[in-house]
């Protein structure tokens, strides 16, 4: 099978109340990504955008960013969901042999959106939606189930916030670099029991673009230092209704990860992955997903966390960038994570550079409480 590489990345600084329209944000990110790849915009033959009519508050929202994403006169299409899924479609289009160089872009303007109303509309209109449930309150249910199943504590989850906000101190891009303690998290305002303010990711604006290229173009267009290979990918969805799932069971993630590992030829993820960007929109999610990813056994995520295994200087640094807890532009978060992994693998991640990074794992989510997962393995 032909290989596909990321040859360019571009993004806006994470922001709140960005003065730019979302089209302007996409233009900035895409222009930077094309410049980073060292190619001309005419070299791009197709565009995949990640766009959401709900988050953008307009129908066919991808229409508004097509000029900005350099799509005029080109083959363009739109994935609705996390950026990691859009990147997957970008790769599929290249592997089909139809395209050579693909722009994958995603934008999110959280500060112009109503998170509660928008995520409430992801629930069943007849039953659950009327309860007012949304992304935060459903996450609280999941956190509670996870705690009950394995006897975990809120303090253990708080460690994730302490670690990731601390990591963000080294990342100039980040929105919430903070030196905090477990007590700070525990004493922050209650949002939805057991989640406190510092367990939750902030509302964020941001656009991110990747330039993907087929092997034959990637080798011609860029140097070895720029190229990062898409080595493996897998995605899988669980049942829709929260009541039809065990919220602490990560079976869909396990299946997605298995597929990604098989494609990348990874036998033991604990040994072969050097760092990971895992979806941590809420603190409890990081250890839960690390279990699903096979980095540790079920129920052991917090134990590893306490041992410093996932610290910046630990055995497997997780969310060295500061993660979603430090900045979470929902639709584009997955692409930011892929861009972050790309910079790390290039050795260009600045002060938060992970040492000897050869193989990265990036994880994105669709739906509530991680109904659907997309797992990527990126490598030099």
């Amino acid at each position: 099978m032909e290989k596909v590489a990321i040859i360019g990345v571009g993004f806006t600084k994470y922001d709140r109340n960005s003065p730019l329209t979302f089209a302007e944000m996409v233009f900035e990110a895409t222009s930077k990504a094309i410049a980073d790849a060292g190619i001309s915009k005419d070299d791009v033959d197709n565009v995949v955008s990640a766009s959401s009519d709900f988050w953008d508050g307009r129908t066919i929202s991808s229409m508004a960013i097509s000029d900005a994403s350099n799509a005029f006169g080109k083959d363009i299409t739109t994935v609705e969901g996390d950026g990691t899924f859009a990147a997957l479609y970008g790769m599929m289009r290249i592997l089909s042999g139809s395209f050579g160089v693909t722009v994958v872009c995603a934008h999110h303007k959280g500060t112009e959106s109503s998170m509660n109303g928008i995520t409430n509309c992801a629930f069943d209109p007849l039953v659950e939606r009327r309860l007012g449930i949304d992304a935060v309150s459903s996450a609280a249910l999941q956190a509670r189930r996870y705690m009950n199943k394995y006897g975990l504590s809120e303090e253990q989850f708080a460690l994730v916030s302490v670690k990731n906000h601390g990591n963000a101190m080294r990342n100039p891009l980040s929105l919430l670099p903070m030196e905090i303690t477990v007590d700070d998290v525990m004493n922050s305002r209650k949002i939805a029991d057991p989640l406190k303010l510092l367990d939750c990711s902030p509302v964020t604006d941001g656009a991110c673009t990747l330039v993907l290229a087929a092997e034959r173009f990637a080798k011609k267009m860029t140097t070895n230092k720029k190229r990062v290979w898409l080595k493996g990918v897998g995605h899988c969805a669980d049942a829709f209704r929260l009541g039809d799932r065990d919220l602490a069971d990560t079976r869909a993630l396990k299946r997605a990860a298995k597929r990604a590992y098989a494609m990348a030829g990874i036998d033991d993820p604990r040994k072969e992955i050097d760092f990971a960007e895992v979806y941590d929109a809420f603190s409890y999610m990081e250890p839960l997903w690390l279990e699903g990813l096979g980095i540790c056994d079920d129920g052991k995520g917090c134990e590893y966390l306490e041992r410093g295994y996932f610290d910046y200087g630990g055995k497997l640094p997780v969310n060295a960038s500061g993660g979603r807890l430090s900045a979470n532009p929902v639709q584009s978060a997955g692409l930011y994570a892929m861009a972050e992994a790309t910079l790390q693998l290039r050795g260009k991640a600045g002060k938060h550079q992970v040492r000897n990074a050869e193989t990265a794992l990036v994880h994105g989510i669709n739906g509530m409480c991680g109904q659907s997962h997309c797992v990527w393995i990126l490598g030099k």
């Binding site: 307009r58 129908t59 066919i60 229409m63 097509s66 994935v79 479609y89 089909s96 139809s98 669709n366």
Partner: protein, 384 residues
């Protein structure tokens, strides 16, 4: 290089203005079940799923997640693509690329819409820029009326020409048991129907329907094994235009010209009028069935009225267009363009029943939407 891909099964619901007997998820299940039956497969044979619709219509966010029970996607890879009116063809193209990439062998592509539960015009009005264009270009009818007015003035086309297209498609629908609107109409009936926005009249315009369509794509190896006569995908091409309506060219359809020129090149087609045996085109309004024929390179600019008056595109003409009755007869928006793909596939597979065109070797299907976006797919009886 990628894999060759065939369509091995198609399913669609019975369409109606209101399908009160089913929920949205059940509507999807109806199409999915019929597609599996058509291909003689079970859900266990499906490796991945793609779905699309227009979110604001039914006010459901993350439709790929919500539709799990209807899609049969629990513990399977699934994602959502959407591009407005072209969503159906976009979903079809995504199913095609899933398989062509070599990542999946058998893929289910599903489009749907339950318009009876939505305020379509209100939702679609928000696609225009909120400060500049939402007022003058709110909704679908105004821009279509504008473009045909310009076309009539430039080339001497008439309201009768578009009425002939409306009568053709509406009468074709009499042969289609799945069609939403099935009534025999004459050109006079169309001309005498209430004016919506000059020169578009009630019977020129598509309805809003409840419905769903599912199409199953498979690799060459699987398709040959599973299906006696797959419809092979020869190419899939998309072109879009400027973001703002005010920037568009109105007298012809640049996206359709660019998309079809690119697709014909890929599929080795030099004389489309002669080489296609049937076309299922996204014609949301009969006026488009006149103007856009020029842009498909069936004739020079302004040549379409002559071909229509000659009956070139009738069921017994040189190139039958929309044997199914087309969009003017059935329009569940997120599924509409996928129905074009499904109907074209059935024509090649010889499964189109009373609306079958004899001996179809090559079929053209299109999607239309957004800011004059064109999604286009060419299917063939022979491998590409």
């Amino acid at each position: 290089m990628g894999k060759r891909v065939g369509i091995i099964g198609v399913g669609q619901t019975h369409h109606a203005a209101k399908r009160l007997d089913v929920s949205g998820v059940e509507l999807i299940a109806e199409a999915v079940t019929r597609a599996l039956d058509d291909a003689q497969l079970t859900m266990g044979d499906i490796d991945a799923i793609v779905i699309g619709n227009m979110d604001h219509f039914e006010n459901i966010n993350y439709v790929d997640m919500w539709a799990t029970d209807g899609l049969g996607s629990c513990m399977k890879p699934v994602f959502k693509v959407t591009t407005g009116g072209t969503t159906g063809t976009t979903v079809g193209a995504c199913g095609y690329y899933h398989v062509a990439s070599g990542l999946f062998d058998v893929v289910l592509a599903v489009g749907w819409e339950k318009n009876s539960e939505s305020d379509t015009q209100a939702a679609i009005a928000t696609c225009a820029n909120p400060t500049l264009e939402r007022d003058p270009f709110a909704g679908a009818i105004g821009p279509l009326a504008t473009e045909y007015s310009m076309y009539m003035k430039a080339y001497g086309a008439t309201e009768s020409d578009s009425a002939m297209v409306a009568a053709r498609d509406r009468n074709n629908a009499l042969n289609n048991p799945y069609a939403h609107s099935r009534q025999a109409v004459t050109v006079e009936d169309v001309l005498n129907s209430p004016m919506l926005s000059y020169p578009v009249k009630f019977l020129d315009m598509c309805p809003r329907s409840d419905g769903s369509c599912a199409v199953i794509f498979a690799t060459e190896e699987k398709a040959k094994k599973l299906c006696p006569k797959p419809a092979w995908v020869h190419c899939s091409v998309v072109r879009h235009d400027y973001t703002h309506f005010g920037d568009l060219e109105w007298k012809f359809m640049p996206t359709l010209e660019r998309a079809s020129a690119a697709a014909y090149k890929l599929a080795g087609i030099t004389n489309p009028l002669k080489e296609f045996d049937v076309a299922e085109l996204y014609i949301p309004c009969s006026t488009c069935g006149v103007k856009w024929m020029d842009s498909l390179w069936f004739c020079e600019h302004g040549g379409a009225p002559k071909l229509i008056r000659k009956g070139t595109f009738d069921m017994d003409g040189q190139l039958p267009i929309n044997p199914s009755g087309g969009v003017i007869s059935t329009n569940p928006i997120g599924a509409t363009a996928l129905i074009r793909v499904g109907e074209a596939a059935w024509q090649i597979m010889g499964k189109a029943g009373a609306r079958q065109v004899p001996n179809v070797k090559k079929a053209l299907c299109t999607g239309f939407g957004g800011c004059s976006w064109t999604d286009l797919m060419i299917l063939g009886a022979d491998l590409p």
